[in-house]
Subunit: 509 residues, 3 copies
């Protein structure tokens, strides 16, 4: 909550009295929330006495968290948010723009594609676990619905203020979904090992840090990152990896038999994979400049993904047992081409350049899943459930480097007067193209720094034993937080199912 | 069929001779259809002798219904329907509009989102039942494909006639899909308890009544309802509730064990939920005025849904057993925010206003599922399979009231010259804003009246024992109307499966 | 590879020296590829000795194929492909077009719908087999990702060259996806009986022949075929049927028990069906002329599909056992209306004309599944797994004939100055409308000829025992090419599973 106050102070001068009183109410709510929350946790703890000092019963924790967060959001939206010119009846009709020029028609289809990626793409990609489908889709839904509201505020604070008010429209919707994407990447790292309350708390902090990092990278450093190789993928991955490192569970192998897929769960996951793959061109091009820029970004991403897919299939077959394809690679590594084209996608990367980038991304991603992930888990104690390091981390860094190189090589000869859209500071003569490349590298370093330090701090916050995290023995299991249909619970390994439900009963006391 | 004739008479003066003869053919077809249909039913009945006086064998009933309905549709389309200016080669090229100004580019992406909601959204939302997935998706597909054609005619009769001809284009496609949505809501109330023939007959009457109600609400009363809180959701829900009340089955508990979900069926249902959730902003904004109106409607709906989701998760955990989340709530109540923003979405509801509306909708929806549905079933004998009262009924009424209040508070100060788009009669000075609010309330009353009376009548029609409704013992079961893969039939409860297939065999004699 | 060289020669004059050296490298790569490939196959064969002279182990074959193909693609893209005016920063900014006029905004939403059809639609439509879901979705993904890159080159060679360079943008993306569609149709015919290497080889040749046929039909003959009834559906279907005829497996009944669906696999397939159904209006209208043409095509397809669905349900119930609906018909025949509206969709077919076409398409498609497919298999030895003859073959021919008739009946009275968009040669007075009809029929004949002869040749190439095709006993089975989760392998028929895995082990030696 301190972060919230800090940011509020940051904009204090512009806030009028009414706003101040609203915020006061919000902060009071937040304090009350913390008090009630801790008390409920303490009483729950004393009630059960044993069980690792924690209860996974969400009866009070989750409702309190949801309601207080939503009430704070409503109060802050009331105080701070208003329609932008394109959505306000009066302002739009006062302007001389024709209805057909409304931003809605040039951004909304892209927004809907991004929206599908966030809710169906990320949600179903994580349903590969045999008994964690409800949580994968359901918690993804919950934290995304929260994060996009909170992101509207946080991103507004940092780069959307107009006379003390945050303006919203389709661009803010896309940006909020982007920020949500970073949170969902981090969710992938801790998948199966966290309670919904932990995830909401993580989302709250991560969105804030995301907005700070985005502000530094784009506005202070002056880097370009339309598709978010750095701000979304690198940030989300390394933040999540640090959180999962801090939340390291030495006895996680007790849940090992559930940390795998079954036949149908892998098919559900392919729904997520394919939606991410198909709509990634829309993702990378959603907020680039109108005209050739959006068009070119979509095209580059399309080629990068296609090349990445062939690399993934080839390498999966080469490295896997008996030459058989591994679903984990197909579901994940085939997407690395979209991540890696995030920064350079809007630049004059050329189609074959995009294909090379995609090919490399697919190669490092499969190699990561095959050889690096086991090392990270054994040596560095990073339990990365979805392998976000291979899908978002390394390809994100690759994308940042490709972006830096492409920027450094930019010339008026290639870009013409289109240089203004892509590199405005180079076009205005303020800096050289090479300096733009340096900026991109600085942006990568800043992103890594903020992600790792932020993940460290947030990891320790999430370690507080009041958020109802599951014990090591019942990770990757829906029945701890969801009412699961009974007849299916006994399906498969009968013994396990019985043990689980007994243990769960105790925990939910 | 009388309704059809009535409407035809209504437009009689404008119809030329050719048209009259066509309609005559259509009505003759319809008569022939009724005769053949009844005969086939009677012969089927006598053939089997016993079995509750009804046969679920669709061999003659369904083909006859489908073919006759489609032939009538083709004849009426031939007589009445033509391309509008935007789709007709000659007219479009005669106009001075540039190709880029064609309505196609400003409505079609929204149409496609609505289309996905109708076929994937509604279809998969209802697959939650363990053995009713084929019927949920399949009957949804069938009645939607019929309803959208029939709706084109019915809506055309009432508000799309140009010189005796119905003009079609992307707007008529969206409106037809909207009308189809209302039918599918009613389908949700009777899910698992009706034959496909009953559903087609219900769709035929409901579409007609929908068009009448829409005409009265929008053109006679002069209310606004772009997203259909009243015309679609309230109408569809209360119509369906009344139909299911009339079709009350006192011995439905014999099929009770099948009226529940299994693990994977709940995941399939989440596909439906998420598509409805993601594309609801497109639904509410699909036919609002161009420019700021469409943009604002999408934005308001987006915030309403996000707030609704947090309310749903919080309240589901608070009310459910052991603090665990209930999939029924997540699948349904999280959507109530879209329903409730249907009327006021295009107005200057403000972002935080939308969030409050969504929050309230989520709360009443979860409470409805938890506490009201059992009461409705026990006391009022309303067996509402999908709980459409909680998802569409109450949130629809809430949306109507919110719309009335927002309309009553409208001022030129807020809307500027945008008032013309949203409240043309207020803008022209014909009425005061307060009167617009009164209109909205009258529209709600009219909608409830037509829905309930219409549902009553149609319910009794559907009760006729000639449509092949399933017996109480084999409700919620695909195998009665579908060839179901054999090896899976024995899966799970062997005894049940065997009993079912024997009973089914008798019925299908 | 000869084909490739041939085409290269075709454009030789325009290629500069740099290009020549690039192509030389590519061809060298290809040669090296063939050598290594054959050697690896031979060594694999000798290693195992027995087992029908073939090994299904993909360890070397698939990686080599993927990597070499992608490297060739990158080299050719480097030599030949560049951004078109709409995607190039310099050229776009040099033109006087406003950003909002960029083609991106008028084609990209359609492109995304087509993209969903290719990857989700085709992919999931084929998941109906009980143990072939990974391969259906996964191989669909692989060959589509390859085919769209290769199609960009092949289509560019034949009708996208500008000064020796292929120009790419959203139109080339749509065209590449279209060509990919034809390959996936052929994939449907051989589904379950081919290795991924065979499929890639088939895709390579089929894309080339597709581009040749498309060039002949559209540019030489001068026919119109915007939605591809001929170029995509008829071509893809008859090509695939001929390939599967050549690859005839007399002992395929040994895998018969796996050539069927289970409950959940049919639901997954419905995802594919519905996405194809919903987005078909976008498919047919994606590359028609702007304005009324795109609008009208979408509208016609929409009505055709709706009518087709009613015909399908009616006839499925009429022909199937006990009047029950057959999922195979619903999943496939309901789509025939989109196929049949592919050629005439952009013409003034009228709404009721579209409905008649759709109705007929549904009827012939269901009758084909019910009565023709068994005959084709028994008498003509055509083992057509997905029944592409019924979904794409016959409806495609119907669509071609409807297109010819509609074209022959075109008059200035109906089209006005819109004639220029639809039939430019008729509008310019070069030919009569009747001659356009004749052209359409010639185009159909050409398409059938090239498809059948091409399929014959490619079938024999695929029969070479070096591509790792599965033996007759383990067709329709994922575990031969995929790591399948273990606990599910024993699910269902224990005996079968054990036999399979032992046999698989031997093969993968």
């Amino acid at each position: 909550m301190e972060t919230l106050m800090l940011i509020t102070n940051f904009n204090n001068r512009r806030c009028d009295l009414e706003l101040k009183s609203c915020l006061l109410t919000a902060v009071t709510c937040a304090h009350w929330f913390c008090l009630v929350f801790c008390e409920s946790s303490l009483s729950a703890r004393s009630a059960e006495g044993t069980m690792r000092g924690t209860s996974t019963n969400m009866r009070l924790k989750l409702p309190i968290t949801c309601f207080i967060l939503e009430i704070i959001l409503i109060i802050l939206f009331c105080a701070l948010v208003e329609y932008d010119k394109e959505t306000d009846a009066k302002q739009w009709h006062n302007s001389s723009d024709h209805n057909y020029q409304n931003e809605f028609y040039y951004r909304y289809p892209s927004f809907q594609d991004v929206h599908v990626m966030i809710f169906i793409g990320f949600g179903f990609l994580m349903t590969f676990l045999q008994r964690y489908g409800f949580s994968s889709v359901g918690f993804n839904f919950l934290i995304a619905a929260f994060a996009l509201q909170w992101a509207t505020l946080m991103q507004g604070f940092f780069h959307g203020m107009h006379g003390g008010r945050i303006h919203v429209g389709v661009e803010s919707m896309i940006n909020a979904d982007f920020c949500t994407g970073a949170v969902l990447i981090s969710f992938g790292a801790v998948l199966g090992k966290t309670s919904p309350v932990q995830l909401l708390i993580m989302a709250m902090f991560e969105v804030t840090l995301f907005a700070v990092n985005e502000f530094v990278v784009l506005s202070v450093v002056g880097a370009k990152d339309a598709g978010g190789s750095m701000t979304i993928h690198t940030f989300g991955a390394y933040f999540g990896l640090m959180v999962t490192r801090i939340l390291y569970r030495p006895n996680l192998d007790k849940s090992k038999h559930k940390n795998s897929s079954v036949y149908h769960s892998d098919l559900f996951a392919m729904i997520g994979t394919l939606y991410l793959w198909m709509f990634w061109p829309s993702f990378n091009s959603a907020i680039t400049a109108h005209g050739d820029d959006q068009h070119r970004t979509a095209l580059n991403t399309y080629y990068s993904l296609a090349a990445c897919t062939l690399a993934t299939y080839g390498l999966s077959s080469l490295t896997a047992h008996d030459g058989k394809l591994d679903m984990v690679h197909i579901q994940n590594a085939a997407l690395a081409g979209g991540v890696a084209a995030g920064t350079a996608g809007e630049m004059m990367l050329t189609p074959f350049g995009s294909m090379i980038v995609g090919f490399l991304a697919g190669v490092i991603s499969v190699l990561g899943y095959k050889y690096l992930s086991p090392i990270l888990e054994d040596k560095l104690k990073i339990q990365d459930t979805c392998g976000v390091h291979n899908l978002h981390g390394m390809p994100g860094v690759l994308g940042a480097i490709v972006g830096a190189v492409t920027a450094a090589l930019a010339s008026v000869d290639t870009y013409g007067s289109g240089m203004e859209d892509v590199f405005p500071d180079v076009a205005s003569g303020e800096i050289q193209a090479f300096s733009q490349g340096v900026r991109q590298i600085i942006a990568l370093a800043v992103t890594l720094g903020i992600a790792l330090v932020g993940g460290l701090i947030v990891g320790f916050i999430l370690k507080l034993p009041i958020f109802g995290a599951p014990p090591d023995t019942i990770c990757y299991e829906d029945s701890i937080y969801w009412e699961v249909p009974e007849e299916e619970e006994g399906h498969g390994n009968q013994l396990t199912a019985v043990r689980v439900s007994e243990e769960t009963k105790k925990l939910n006391a």
